[in-house]
């Protein structure tokens, strides 16, 4: 069992260079390797999921060093869930990318894709905040490569903004980690949890800054106001399957907040108190609003979807900001839901947009398979907008039901419900323009040909084959399954939340090193204090030197 914990990182990490450097001249073997690898990842994730389900917390000590001195990977229900979610989403997206030939429109798609999976899995599995930074770097650089896959002026421009914003976030991450290490002396999450409990509020100013800066860093990833600006441009201009995969990227930020700000800086910790919850709540409210406004005011389909993702992140973060087991259960339900909803929307949008000159919401002649596309879009849109029978509605009810604090109820409910309305109206307008109005629209022959010449991107006229439609259907199927099996799913999420809030179990699982590990010097609080301090500075600087290295 033990070594399997690291498999979701190592498998893609070994596969990616082989695809990228050995198989780079043949797309077929790259595709086979990539798909087989991702299926393998799903299988591994399922195995881990099953292992974690009974509630044990597994710790993998890298280099066989005892925690908190080495790096640990931690497999509990939450990380198993996230890895499972990642792998399933990845398989869906990958099949779409292969079926629609997106992977051939630039170089190294599959290698970058596998590296991306490695980065995401690593971020979910780690039990060390500096290691989390490293995997943020991995997934950032890989996602940048995927984001600008196949090039194009707008895409390059948006990609630059994406990478600059996120590098700024990484820099702040380093500041935060430096501050955290300088105020606690450790980077292991479990150890941090222990040390944070001991810091009185009278001495907490520095560590509070660290907690806040970390939250901002995670908020950049999760695209929360006021650091959400990168998301619409990125998602709207990324290749659609990549945008679909990015549905999990925002969740990395959300996950990090759930993990770190529950276990380390939880509301019951005197040093930080409810600081994180308060600010998150306010930011989430505004984010919901930005998302809703963006959906209603969108001129093009891809930005519309991007803003709907933004809105869903706001809703998710509202649930997270409560930091209670109940609300976290709802948050996890919504997290899984919104991941597949966003993916489904981007995938169906891709099928439509590549068959039409551009993604503007103006009336153009209907594409082939208008009815099929309309049905799929309808399904994905009601999922995202939170209408029954898909999981969005239950998720929304679940979140609302858990935000019962009288001080918050007015803001939170108004934001979510009015936001839903804007989203519904926005999607109805878009769908009507794309799929209904187009049926009554006949473009004169000569205009069509002129338009085609102007377009840089060639338009497909072929009907979508079963392979191309299947991933979209699978994503919507996930939403349906999450709705039908809401009870068992929520039970798992509830257990996950309970485990998450059982801080002591996590801490003891990580810090109680088994016998036979390299020795833990009990007397390390002793006479060598001065030497440690010197080294503290060194260790810290070491991080920044590495950063400068790439």
């Amino acid at each position: 069992m033990t070594h399997w914990i690291i498999a979701p990182v190592i498998l893609p990490a070994l596969l990616a260079p082989i695809i990228g450097y050995v198989m780079r001249y043949d797309i077929l073997i790259a595709r086979i390797a990539s798909i087989v690898g991702t299926i393998g990842l799903v299988a591994i994730a399922a195995g881990l999921f099953a292992s974690a389900a009974p509630g044990e917390t597994f710790v993998y000590r890298l280099g066989n060093w005892p925690a908190p001195f080495g790096i640990v990977l931690v497999l509990d229900r939450l990380s198993a869930l996230m890895v499972m979610l990642t792998s399933v989403l990845a398989l869906i997206v990958l099949v779409h990318a292969v079926a629609t030939n997106w992977d051939q429109k630039g170089l190294h798609f599959h290698a970058l894709f596998q590296f991306q999976l490695m980065g995401i899995s690593g971020a979910f599995l780690t039990g060390d905040v500096f290691n989390l930074f490293v995997f943020f770097e991995v997934l950032l650089i890989a996602s940048y490569g995927l984001m600008i896959h196949s090039g194009g002026r707008e895409r390059m421009r948006a990609g630059l903004q994406y990478v600059i914003m996120n590098l700024a976030g990484s820099t702040l991450f380093l500041f935060a980690l430096g501050t955290l290490y300088a105020s606690t002396g450790t980077l292991n999450i479990a150890d941090l949890a222990v040390r944070l409990r001991e810091i009185p509020v009278e001495d907490a100013a520095i560590v509070r800054v660290a907690a806040m800066l970390l939250m901002i860093v995670f908020a950049v990833k999760a695209a929360l106001f006021p650091v959400q600006f990168w998301l619409p441009g990125t998602y709207a201009n990324a290749p659609a399957p990549v945008a679909a995969l990015f549905a999990i990227m925002t969740k990395v930020g959300a996950y990090a907040i759930i993990r770190v700000h529950t276990i380390v800086f939880g509301p019951d910790i005197p040093a930080t108190g409810d600081m994180a919850g308060l600010w998150l709540f306010a930011a989430a409210i505004v984010t919901v609003g930005i998302g809703a406004f963006g959906v209603l005011g969108a001129r093009r389909l891809m930005p519309l979807i991007a803003f709907s993702v933004l809105g869903s992140m706001g809703t998710l973060m509202l649930a997270i900001s409560a930091f209670t087991p109940g609300a976290t259960t709802a948050a996890l339900y919504y997290l899984v839901h919104s991941t597949f909803a966003a993916a489904a929307l981007f995938l169906i949008a891709d099928l439509v947009v590549t068959r039409r000159p551009g993604d503007t919401l103006t009336t153009l002649p209907a594409t082939v398979q208008n009815g099929l596309f309309a049905a799929l879009f309808f399904g994905a849109a009601i999922g995202m907008a939170g209408m029954p029978p898909l999981s969005g509605f239950l998720g929304k009810l679940f979140v609302l039901d858990n935000l019962r604090d009288p001080a918050e109820i007015g803001w939170a409910w108004t934001a979510i419900l009015v936001g839903s309305l804007f989203t519904i109206v926005g999607f109805a307008r878009a769908g009507s323009a794309l799929f209904w109005k187009s049926t009554a629209f006949v473009l004169p022959e000569n205009v069509i040909s002129e338009d085609e010449e102007k377009e840089e991107v060639p338009i497909t006229r072929d009907p979508a084959k079963a392979w191309e439609v299947a991933p979209t259907m699978a994503a919507i199927g996930m939403l349906a399954a999450l709705s039908i099996f809401a009870g068992p799913a929520a039970r798992y999420f509830e257990l996950t939340a309970d485990q998450l809030f059982d801080r002591n179990a996590y801490v003891s699982a990580v810090l109680e090193n088994p016998d036979g590990l390299k020795p833990y010097p009990d007397d390390h609080h002793g006479e060598e204090d001065a030497a440690y301090d010197e080294d503290a500075a060194e260790h810290d600087d070491d991080g920044s030197a590495k950063d400068g290295g790439h």
Partner: protein, 954 residues
């Protein structure tokens, strides 16, 4: 659960399962499609019939499955009198509509789709009336909004259909969302979302401080769905749907959902002042307003639509009165309205279908051309007018009776007077429907010659008018059903007796007044109509459209202004937010006194500090000139390295300085292909603002660093010092941290480098193929070129240095585990040596002498590092567990071999490969830009002293 429960669940599911069928059965033909659509409805109706006797006896049939227990959502259904009444209506009328639609839809309409939507809608409606859990009810409630959206927009090529559908969705959807809030509050008050529990907790609910918000939110849902003033405007526009849809949605189902909800929630919510004043008032206004507008509508369906609005108002008002007698009247009227209104819609549809117009002003005289239709229409319309012997009369009498003794703010006149006025207009538009459509002389200008339709088309309305007359003449037929449904509404056993003659009551006079006044109104309709048309009146659709356009415009403006794609602004916001939030966090906690003394500042350090600041300031000043900025930038890098040296961190200093060198060299090479000056983009004011932001952020970071550097903290690093040699086999703790304690981090970082290599390669490919490549090809770089690109001195010097540099690299690599150095630095050192060869003799020349591809080098590096880590699995140890040993090799002294060195080799290869790949990309750009490839090591070979160069080109 007994058989009844199972049947109940099957009833609720049947339409949804059935909805899967028509889409496929349409391939077998239209009749097959219609038949197979009818099957689930008929089955459900039969099962309902089986359950009906039990319900009529007063039993409540329940079924329950847990769905999302954490939320309190269960798939629980119950069937009581009210549910039975509505379920019967939904299924019964549904069946008639299926029959009617078979004949109504033309061959061009996709019938399979229609029946699918219809069954979905039927299922959603059925779900509403059978739900025993308010969250489940909400699910079905929203499903009706969605399925009706599809039904109303069924003719998607018609703009009215699309707009009507969107408007219906927006209005009913927003109501539904409000209702979600209301229902959640209600569940909060009671502590359960089960309807049975909620209905039993009426007193608790009404005394709660949350009662009013819950009531208002729930009523918003009901009012929007049931088209109550001021939300009535969507209903007429929904008439753009095919007539079977209108007949179904607007007689028996969708719009009745709001009324149903008020009836359902009656025991829990009704009976308070707030309930009376909100519900009864809104109902009264809607009733009168709808009736008045209906009189002036020329479109038959619009007339019926507003009449529906009016009748819904009537029902709402009755429920608002809060008395049991009013509830009985409401229940009875629900049945009656269903029968005559569905028949009327179908009649209107037949007229439209036959005459190809629904405009009353173009109709008239149809009685002679289509007598059967005219008979059906006339009977139904008379019932709508409330003429005795038809069922509409009975319930209207009951309504007037209730109105006659209702006080509104202690005013006894206003309710009866307005109720009578509503009834009066109702008589007028009903009679207009009859006389202006069927009465009068036969015209010769119909768009199409009308005649009676086939039996299948008028069978459904005919059956309904039979009921109209039957109930009208023998009201006791409905006694039981009304009793059991009204009891369910009131929450207590009621035994009403429906009869035609109530004696001489105020209601009778009001009725007569209404009929008399209505006839008068019809007679003077023509002049009234002219006044109406001339009078200014708010056009709901125009207002709605304008509001929506305004909203869309506003949201678009806000979105586009805030997301203006200015990265400087985004970064400024990010920075300001970080500083502000960091400060806010800071103020929430205290700080202990500093525990470390300030160290003295030697002059040399002070000088370095000043240089750093001057360097940073110079970059800001000179950044427009890229070359100068780059040079100044290197000063900063040097100072940082010097800082590391001063603070006894030789590893970091080595790394920093080699990274610095490689970066600057690559940047210098790249600088050749980009403009030498950056464009001026920012205004002075903005620059100052950005400068302030930068200063504040810098000060913040400085203050933070100062604060934590003055304080001691107990860190984990002691362990690393203690175990570096014993456990990691190295004296150099930094290196052991990099390759062992935290080798996993390093593994991640070299992967970052590897990915960067891939991206650079892919990016180059994409760029050179696009417009950027074309631009590059057409830019003239020749005047920037040196005349002597590969100078003799440089070539010779680099050749001489090469072996030394490689040796140094190997040395640094090997000593890394115990002394400053390691794979990362070694990779950079050798990269610098190679870089210089390339600079001296050109890429192609050097390239042809190098055997290993850097692509492969990166790949090997990453894989070697990974496999080294995985190798420890063979020993049963976790990933990256190191092993080391000391060996004697005769010529050399004792030598250490460590797996960590192998890992370091991976690091080395990746670093080297990545740098080389970057260089390769730059040279690709150069060749693309038209630079020639040199075959000789240098431009001017002294051994070949004859040929002068021609124009700097080989």
């Amino acid at each position: 659960m007994g058989d009844g429960s199972n049947l109940l669940v099957i009833i609720a599911l049947l339409p949804f399962i059935g909805a899967l069928v028509p889409g496929w059965m349409i391939r077998a033909g239209r009749n097959a499609c219609a038949t197979f659509t009818a099957v689930p409805t008929v089955l459900a109706l039969v099962m309902l019939g089986i359950l009906a006797p039990d319900v009529m006896r007063g039993e409540v049939i329940q079924a329950r499955f847990e769905w999302l227990p954490q939320l309190g959502l269960s798939a629980s259904f119950f069937l009581d009198g009210l549910g039975l009444l509505f379920a019967g209506m939904i299924l019964g009328v549904g069946l008639l509509i299926i029959l009617y639609a078979r004949f109504y839809l033309s061959g061009d309409d996709p019938m399979g789709q229609f029946y699918t939507y219809l069954l979905l809608f039927q299922g959603a409606m059925l779900g509403i009336v059978l739900s025993d859990n308010i969250l489940l009810l909400l699910v079905f409630w929203e499903l009706t909004s969605l399925s009706s959206f599809l039904l109303i927009g069924y003719w998607k090529h018609l703009p009215e259909g699309r707009q009507g559908a969107r408007m219906a969705l927006a209005v009913t959807g927003s109501g539904g969302l409000a209702m979600i809030g209301g229902m959640l509050i209600l569940g909060n008050i009671v502590g359960s979302y089960d309807l049975t529990d909620i209905l039993a907790s009426g007193d608790l609910i009404k005394s709660s401080e949350w009662y009013l918000p819950a009531l208002i939110l729930i009523l918003l849902g009901a009012f929007t769905k049931s088209a109550q003033f001021p939300f009535h405007f969507w209903l007429p526009h929904a008439m753009a749907a095919p007539t079977p849809v209108s007949a179904y949605l607007h007689s028996a189902t969708m719009v009745k959902a709001g009324v149903f909800l008020m009836a359902r929630m009656w025991p829990a919510l009704a009976g308070t002042e707030a309930w009376f004043y909100i519900v009864a008032t809104v109902g009264l206004i809607t009733m009168v307003l709808g009736a008045v507008i209906a009189l002036f509508k020329d479109d038959l369906k619009a007339l019926l639509a507003f009449s529906t609005v009016s009748h819904l108002g009537l029902l709402t008002m009755l429920l608002g009165f809060g008395t049991t007698a009013a509830a009985v009247a409401a229940v009875f009227h629900i049945i009656n309205h269903l029968t005559f209104k569905a028949a009327l819609f179908m009649t209107a549809g037949i007229v439209d279908h036959e005459a190809h117009t629904r405009d009353i002003k173009r109709l008239g005289g149809l009685a002679k051309l289509m007598p059967i239709t005219a008979t059906i229409g006339t009977i139904a319309a008379l019932s709508m007018a409330g003429i005795p012997l038809f069922n509409g009369f009975l319930s209207k009498e009951m309504m007037l009776e209730e109105a006659s003794h209702t006080y509104w703010f202690e005013n006894p006149w206003i309710v009866p007077a307005l109720a009578t006025l509503g009834a009066l207009f109702s008589v007028a538009y009903s009679l207009r429907f009859i006389f202006h459509t069927f009465g009068g002389p036969v015209r010769d200008d119909y768009p199409h010659k009308p005649h009676d339709p086939p039996f299948g088309m008028y069978a459904a309305p005919a059956l309904l008018v039979v009921l109209v007359v039957a109930i009208g003449v023998m009201p006791f037929l409905a006694d039981n059903l009304v009793a059991v449904a009204a009891s369910a509404v009131a929450g207590e056993a009621l035994h009403p007796h429906l009869k035609i003659w109530h004696g001489v009551t105020p209601a009778l006079f009001m009725s007569f007044a209404a009929i008399g006044g209505g006839i008068v109104l019809l007679l003077i309709h023509r002049p009234l109509d002219r006044v109406w048309i001339a009078a200014p009146r708010p056009e709901a659709k125009a207002i709605f459209d304008k509001l929506l356009a305004l909203l869309v415009g506003a949201t678009r403006w806000i979105t586009e202004v805030t997301h203006n794609r200015s990265i400087t602004r985004y970064l400024a916001i990010f920075t300001v937010a970080s500083v502000a939030l960091g400060y806010a966090a800071w103020t929430g906690g205290g700080m202990s006194a500093p525990s470390r003394e300030m160290l003295p500042v030697p002059p040399l350090v002070g000088l370095g500090f000043v240089l750093l600041i001057v360097g940073a300031a110079s970059v800001v000043l000179f950044h427009r000139n890229r070359f100068r900025a780059l040079v100044v930038l290197s000063i900063i890098g040097l100072m940082v390295s010097a800082g590391f040296v001063y603070l006894s961190a030789p590893d970091l200093a080595l790394t920093q300085i080699s990274v610095e060198t490689v970066t600057i060299m690559l940047l210098l090479l790249a600088l050749h292909f980009i403009p030498k000056e950056t464009p001026r983009e920012t205004r002075v004011g903005k620059k100052i603002a950005d400068g302030v932001v930068a200063l504040v952020a810098g000060t913040g970071v400085g203050a933070l660093a100062y604060a934590f550097m003055r304080r001691d903290v107990d860190t984990i690093s002691g362990f690393h010092l203690d175990n570096s040699y014993a456990g990691g086999g190295g004296n150099n703790v930094v290196n052991v941290i990099l390759v062992d304690f935290r080798g996993y981090d390093t593994y991640g970082e070299i992967i970052v480098l590897g990915i960067a290599g891939l991206i650079i390669y892919a990016l180059m490919q994409a760029l050179l193929g696009g417009p950027a490549g074309r631009k590059l090809r057409n830019t003239d770089f020749t005047r920037d070129l040196s005349r002597d690109r590969h100078p003799l001195m440089m070539v010779v010097a680099t050749r001489v240095m090469m072996p030394i540099a490689v040796m140094v690299g190997i040395y640094i690599f090997l000593r890394g585990h115990n002394y400053p150095g390691g794979g990362f630095v070694a990779g950079l050192v050798i990269a610098i040596a190679l870089l210089m060869q390339y600079m001296a003799s050109g890429f192609a020349w050097t390239q042809s002498r190098q055997r290993i591809q850097y692509h492969a080098m990166i790949g090997f590096g990453v894989v070697i590092a990974g496999l080294t880590g995985a190798g420890s699995w063979l020993a049963g140890k976790p990933f990256l567990t190191s092993a080391f040993g000391y060996f004697e090799f005769p010529p050399i002294e004792e030598f250490e071999l460590a797996t960590a060195a192998l890992f370091d080799l991976g690091v080395f290869l990746t670093v080297l490969g990545a740098v080389m790949l970057m260089l390769f990309s730059l040279s690709r750009i150069a060749r693309y830009a038209g630079q020639s490839v040199n075959l000789e090591p240098m431009d001017y070979d002294p051994a070949d002293r004859v040929k002068p160069l021609e124009g700097g080109k080989e």
